[in-house]
C-alpha cells in the first residue's frame, strides 16, 4: 500500500463516527462497539421504565379512593409487583452502568473498547432473554409476591407465575455479572498511558466499585431465586416450614444481595454528579481521594447491613443492634460525599445548565433519602415504620430522587457527546425543575402517612389516609409529565438539534477531547494522559470569569 493510501484510510477513519459505521439493523444487533451496546441498553431500559411507570400509574389511580373500586385485589397486587420487579432489575440496576457506563467508561480511560467486547454484546442478549421471561410472566397473568419474593408465600401459596418471573430475574443477573467482570477488567487492563488509578475520573471509580458489588452480590440473588424455583416447581423442601424449612433463610439470602443492590443503583449516580458538579462549577472536585475512599467504603460496608431489613422478621434482638450500628456507620461515607459536593461549589464559576439542575436535584433528594435512612437504622423507629409508606418514600428518595435524577443529569450532560446534537436548554431546565417538584409532591406525603401507620402494599385502606394518597397521586401526574418531556425534546434534538461540537461544556475528561459523536474506535490515536481529572483551574487559583476553557484537559488525543 502506498503512503497516500494510508493517509486516505486514516482520514476516512477520522471522518466516520460510530453512528455512521453501519445503518442496517444487523450492524446494531451484532455490534461489539461499546457505544452501540450502550444505546441498545438505553432503548431497552427506556421501554421498561415506561412499562413500570404505567403499572404504578394504575396503582396511583386506584389509591385516589380508599375503597379499592377500580382494580381487583389480585390485579392491584400484580401491578405493584410488576412495578417493583421491572423498575429494580430491568431499569435501575442496568440504568447508569449499562448505558452511560458502557458508553463512557472506555472513553474516559482512553481505551478503544471494553476488555471483552463480545461478552459485552452477550450481556445485552442475556438481559433481553431475562426480560422476555419477565414479560412472559406478565402476559401469563402476572406475579403477586411483591418484588421481594418472600417465602413461603412465593413458593407454596402464590397463585401467580412466580417461576417465570424468578427465572427472568435469575437470567438478567448473569448480564449484571458479565458486565461487572467486563468493567473491572477494562479498568485494570486498558487504561491509557499516564492514566494512573488516582487520575481516574470519579465516574470510573464509581462504576468500578459498582462492578465489584455486582460480581460479588448477584450470585447470591441467583442462588436464592434458584432455590425458590426448586421448591415451587420440584417441591424440594427448603423454605417451607411445613417440611422443616426455614422461611427466614430466604430473607437473609435475598437481602444479602438486595441491600448491596441499593449501592449498585446509587454509586453510579454519585459518579455522574461528581463529573457534573466539577464541570458546571468549573472547580476541581473537593477532596478527590476522600471521594474515592468513601465510595469503596460504601461498597464494602454495604455488604454487612442487610439485617436492617429484618428487624421485625424474627431475627435475634441482639443481631438487630449489630445491624443497626453498622447501618449508622454506612451512612457516614454518604454524608461525607454530600459535604464534598457542596464544598466543590466554593469559589466556582457556577452556571445552571440542565445537567447541573438535575445534579442539584439529586443532591437535595439524596440528602433527604439518606437522613431518613437513619430513622430506619434505629430499631424502635424501624419497628413502627417498616412495611409502611415511610419505607416506600425513603427508598424512592434514594433510588428515584437520587439515582434517576442523576441518570437524567448524566443523560443531559453526555447527550451532545453521544448524539452530536444539542437539545433545547430551556425545555431541559424546565423538565428538571418539574421533576424535582413532582417528585417531592409524590413522595413527601408518603413519609407523613407512613409514620401515621399506613401499611404499604394495601389495596384498600382506612379513609383517614386518603388526603395523603390524593396528594401523592397528583404528584405522580406531574412526575409523569416530567419524565415524558425529555423523550420529546431529546427526540426532537436528534433531528433538529444544532451540532454540538466536540466539547460544548468545555469539560476536561478524555471523552470530551474526541469528536461528537465519537469515531468508531473512540480516538484516532492512543491518548496520552498528562493531568489529573477536573483540571479546570490552576492548582491553588480559583477560576476567573474569563477562564471558559479549563486549565488543561486530562490528556492529548491525536
Amino acid at each position: 500500500m502506498s503512503d497516500t493510501a494510508l493517509i486516505y484510510v486514516r482520514h476516512q477513519d477520522k471522518e466516520q463516527n460510530y453512528l455512521q459505521a453501519g445503518h442496517t439493523l444487523m450492524s446494531w444487533l451484532a455490534s461489539t462497539d461499546h457505544k452501540r451496546i450502550g444505546i441498545l441498553y438505553a432503548l431497552a431500559i427506556t421501554f421498561f421504565f415506561f412499562i413500570g411507570g404505567l403499572a404504578i400509574g394504575l396503582v396511583r389511580i386506584e389509591l385516589m379512593s380508599p375503597n379499592g373500586d377500580f382494580l381487583t385485589d389480585d390485579a392491584y397486587n400484580r401491578l405493584f409487583t410488576l412495578h417493583g420487579i421491572v423498575m429494580v432489575w430491568f431499569f435501575l440496576v442496568p440504568s447508569i452502568p449499562a448505558t452511560l457506563g458502557n458508553f463512557l467508561l472506555p472513553m474516559m480511560i482512553g481505551a478503544k473498547d471494553v476488555a471483552f467486547p463480545r461478552l459485552n454484546l452477550l450481556s445485552w442478549y442475556i438481559f433481553i432473554v431475562g426480560a422476555c421471561f419477565a414479560i412472559a410472566s406478565i402476559v401469563a397473568g402476572g406475579v403477586d409476591t411483591g418484588w421481594t419474593f418472600y417465602t413461603p408465600f412465593s413458593t407454596m401459596f402464590s397463585n401467580g407465575d412466580v417461576i417465570a418471573a424468578a427465572a427472568g430475574v435469575f437470567i438478567a443477573g448473569f448480564s449484571s455479572i458479565a458486565t461487572g467482570v467486563n468493567f473491572i477488567t477494562t479498568v485494570h487492563m486498558l487504561r491509557a498511558p499516564g492514566m494512573t488509578w488516582f487520575r481516574l475520573p470519579l465516574f470510573v471509580w464509581a462504576i468500578y466499585a459498582t462492578s465489584i458489588v455486582m460480581v460479588l452480590a448477584t450470585p447470591v440473588l441467583a442462588m436464592s431465586l434458584l432455590l425458590i424455583i426448586v421448591e415451587r416447581w420440584l417441591g424440594m423442601p427448603i423454605f417451607n416450614p411445613a417440611n422443616g424449612g426455614d422461611p427466614i433463610l430466604f430473607q437473609h439470602l435475598f437481602w444479602f444481595y438486595s441491600h448491596p443492590a441499593v449501592y449498585i443503583m446509587v454509586l453510579p449516580a454519585m459518579g455522574v454528579v461528581s463529573e457534573v458538579f466539577a464541570c458546571f462549577a468549573r472547580r476541581r472536585v473537593f477532596g478527590y481521594a476522600m471521594m474515592v475512599y468513601a465510595m469503596m467504603a460504601i461498597a464494602v460496608i454495604g455488604f454487612f447491613v442487610w439485617g436492617h431489613h429484618m428487624f421485625v422478621a424474627g431475627q435475634s434482638q441482639y443481631a438487630n443492634f449489630v445491624f443497626s450500628f453498622l447501618s449508622f456507620i454506612v451512612a457516614v461515607p454518604s454524608a461525607i460525599k454530600v459535604f464534598n459536593w457542596t464544598a466543590t461549589l466554593f469559589r466556582g464559576q457556577i452556571t445552571f445548565e440542565a445537567p447541573m439542575l438535575y445534579a442539584l436535584g439529586f443532591l437535595g433528594l439524596f440528602t433527604v433519602g439518606g437522613l431518613t435512612g437513619l430513622f430506619l437504622a434505629s430499631v424502635p423507629i424501624d419497628v413502627h415504620v417498616t412495611d409502611t409508606y415511610f419505607v416506600v418514600a425513603h427508598f424512592h428518595y434514594i433510588m428515584v430522587g437520587g439515582s434517576v435524577s442523576a441518570f437524567f443529569a448524566g443523560l443531559h450532560f453526555w447527550w451532545p457527546k453521544i448524539t452530536g446534537r444539542l437539545y433545547s436548554e430551556a425545555w431541559a431546565r424546565f423538565a428538571a425543575i418539574v421533576m424535582f417538584l413532582g417528585f417531592n409532591t409524590t413522595f413527601m406525603p408518603q413519609f407523613i402517612m407512613g409514620y401515621g401507620g399506613m401499611p404499604r402494599r394495601y389495596h384498600v385502606y382506612p379513609p383517614e389516609f386518603q388526603i395523603w394518597h390524593v396528594m401523592s397521586s397528583v404528584g405522580a401526574v406531574v412526575l409523569f409529565i416530567a419524565y415524558t418531556l425529555p423523550l420529546i425534546y431529546l427526540g426532537w434534538s436528534l433531528i433538529y438539534g444544532r451540532k454540538a461540537g466536540s466539547n460544548p461544556f468545555a469539560a476536561t475528561g478524555l471523552e470530551w477531547q474526541t469528536a461528537s459523536p465519537p469515531p468508531k474506535h473512540n480516538f484516532t490515536e492512543l491518548p496520552r494522559v498528562t493531568a489529573p481529572p477536573y483540571h479546570y483551574h490552576p492548582e491553588r487559583q480559583a477560576p476567573e470569569p474569563h477562564d471558559r476553557q479549563p486549565e488543561t484537559a486530562q490528556g492529548e488525543v491525536g
Binding site: G68, D73, D74, N77, G146, Y150, T151, P152, F153, M156, F157, S158, P241, G244, P247, R282, G287, M290, V312, G314, S324, F325, A331, V332, A335, I336, N340, T342, A343, F346, R347, G348, Q349, I350, T351, L360, T367, V368, T372, L374, F375, S378, V379, P380, I381, V383, H384, T386, D387, T388, Y451, G452, G453, P455, Y458, H459, R540, Q541, A542, P545
Partner: protein, 312 residues
Amino acid sequence: MSGAFPATASAYAGEWDRFFLVLVAVSGIVVAAIAIVIVGFSIRYRRGSKAKRGLLPDAITNELELTWTSVTAIVFIFLFWWAAIAHLKNVIPPHGALEIHVLAKQWMWKAQQPNGVREIDELHAPVGRPVELIMTSQDVIHSLFLPALRLKQDVLPGRYTYLWFTADKPGVYHLFCSELCGTEHSRMTGRLVLMTPADYARWNAAQPGVEDLAAEGEKLFRSLGCSGCHAPASSVHAPDLNGVYGRQVQLADGRTVTADEAYLRDSILLPRKDVVAGFQPIMPSFRGVVGDGDMVKLMAYLKSLANKGERQ
C-alpha cells in the same frame, strides 16, 4: 400531637415519638444547613459574579474533611447509642404478663384470651398491665402491626414470635397485617380494643365459650396419650413434665436449652430434634395430629404444671 401522628396508646409510643421528633429536628437542621450553603454558593459564586475567587486557602482541606467526618460519625454513633440503650429495656418482656395467643392465617387474625375466649379480627386487652402476645401463623408470613402502640412483629409459620406492651389509654385502634400475604392482604385488618381492667374483666366474663385453657389442655394430654409416658406413675422412661416450662434442659448432644414455647412445640412435633439427656428417642411425632389450636391448649397445661412446680 398533630394530625399526622397516629393515636398514641402507651408510654412506649410517646417515648419513641419524641425520639422520632428529635431525628426530624436533626435532619431538618442538616437539610436546612446544606440548602443554605448550596443556595448561598450558587448565588455568590454564579459565573461572573464579583465575589472574591483568587488564591484558594491552602491546607484547610484535610482539617475540614477530618472535622466533618468525625463530627458526622460521632453524631451518628450517639444517635445509635441513644436508641439502643433506650430500646434495650424493651427487649425482655416483664414477668407475669397477661398472655394472649394470636394465630394468623390467610386472611384473618384469631386471638385467644387466657381464659379461652376466642375472637376473630379483634384483640381485646386491658390497659395498665403488661400483655404478651404469643403468635404463630398457619400458612405464610404475616405481620401484626399495632400503630397506636408503635409495634410490629412478623408472625411466622412453624415458629412462635412475641410482642409485648403495657398500654395506658383505653380505646379502639387499628390492627393491620403489614407483610404481603396474598390476595386479601389489605383486608386482613381488625381492631385493637384496649379497655380498663374492670371493663376487660366484664367483657371477658360476658363472652360465650369461656373455657379453662389449661383444663382443656389436660384433657388433650390424656386423650392424645401423652400421659401414658409422661405421667409420674408411668412405667415408660420419659421426662417428667412437672415444672418443665422455663427450666434449663440438658440435651443428649450436650446443649442446654430453655424449655420455652418454641422448645416444647418442637418437642411435640419434632421429638428427635432436641432429645433430653439420659432418655431414648422413642417419642413419636405429633405432627399433623396436634393443630395450632390444640397446641395453645397443651402449652397452657404445661405452663400450669410449671406453676405447680414453683409452689411445691
